[in-house]
Symmetry: C2
Subunit: 241 residues, 2 copies
Amino acid sequence: MAYMPALSYEAIADGLTVCTSSLHRFGTDAVLLTEFSGYRQKDRVCDFGTGCGIIPMLMQRQAPPQEIYGVDIQPEAIRQMCLGIAESTAVQSVLHPVCADLKNLWEDAPAGQLDLVTCNPPYKAYQAGIESQLTAQKIARHEILCNIYDICRSAKRLLKFGGRLCICNRPERLADCIDAMRQNGIEPKRLQFVAKAADAQPWLFLLEGRSGGKPFLNVLPLRIVGDGSGVTTRLEKTMPV
Amino acid sequence: MAYMPALSYEAIADGLTVCTSSLHRFGTDAVLLTEFSGYRQKDRVCDFGTGCGIIPMLMQRQAPPQEIYGVDIQPEAIRQMCLGIAESTAVQSVLHPVCADLKNLWEDAPAGQLDLVTCNPPYKAYQAGIESQLTAQKIARHEILCNIYDICRSAKRLLKFGGRLCICNRPERLADCIDAMRQNGIEPKRLQFVAKAADAQPWLFLLEGRSGGKPFLNVLPLRIVGDGSGVTTRLEKTMPV
């Protein structure tokens, strides 16, 4: 039987709670990606690999999009997302928790209809041979069940023409992410690096691509922010609402 | 008859002079690229689109590589490079000024033998229709006679396995440059953005690719440097020797 970790409930705003565990929790990267995505109220959105549902939930704090799909291949992640929603009174979007393999989309997936796909993906390239167990944590952090090319291909299928894919990743994966977007007709349009200090190597980048867009990448000024420790501190530092 | 601009001689160090004109001069970007390239004394090097030969000449200031080809399609650029060499007493590398179209390489080109190719290329994508005259300045600044894909293809042919291509460009071209390297078997390995201030948008990036390299991009801390005005100030600020 699969290991069932202890669950915690973390308030991220008045009336908004996420259910976290040691397997499906969240970090500063999710907060930064949510803000970077620049979602609008009229948007229909999908969050790939949603985990505990942190990105759909953060979007509830201010001017939420009309509809959000939260997709994860792991049933326990979707269960946590549902538990968080059940504890939250201030959800304004229509939320669809979906347990599915994003490589194949899912029945009734809104193909060609979405304005925005977000994805805080597994960061580490899959190294054949070093993974002996398919644990939940490895699935969430390594490209075992899907890689950045799968993510871009599925995003392309869901997005309307001109729709946007916003992802974050470690700087060493930038070439892979740009390549994966381009191979799937999503043009990289906006890039921001995140570092702990002005003279430090970046620890994260945020990248927006546009389905069917023309080449011209807008590289934003460096964003300086620590990678945080306590959740409350993290939220206050990175995205006060 | 072609317009012949006035020539100037600029000393870049004791015994090192470059011959500049309004058509073939140099900027901070060439100085930054030379430093970024990390050339070594045992290297055999080629500089694509060398113009007045500033990069081969800057490499003479400290621990020069053993041999440098300077290639430009414009005869007047190569003439200026030769005039600069003739005025310089402190050249230590074997220098080969070559007037050629780098798309086709040239007779006796050292295919598969070089350690390093540098290129400070035309920055602007060619927009069909807006160029009415093929002036020297347009050739140097727009992708009229060669584009970043041509540059990567020719660099690949010249480099030995593991050899490096170092280029600079405007941030909006980053996706094109990464794509062009990858399409030609040159893996982006090291990236640095250059901005005028810690909170400014970058105005340049420096990118190193390795022929046959494995994916893993090292993104360096932001380099803060103005884009300069006077030549002497530029050299002092960016690369004191």
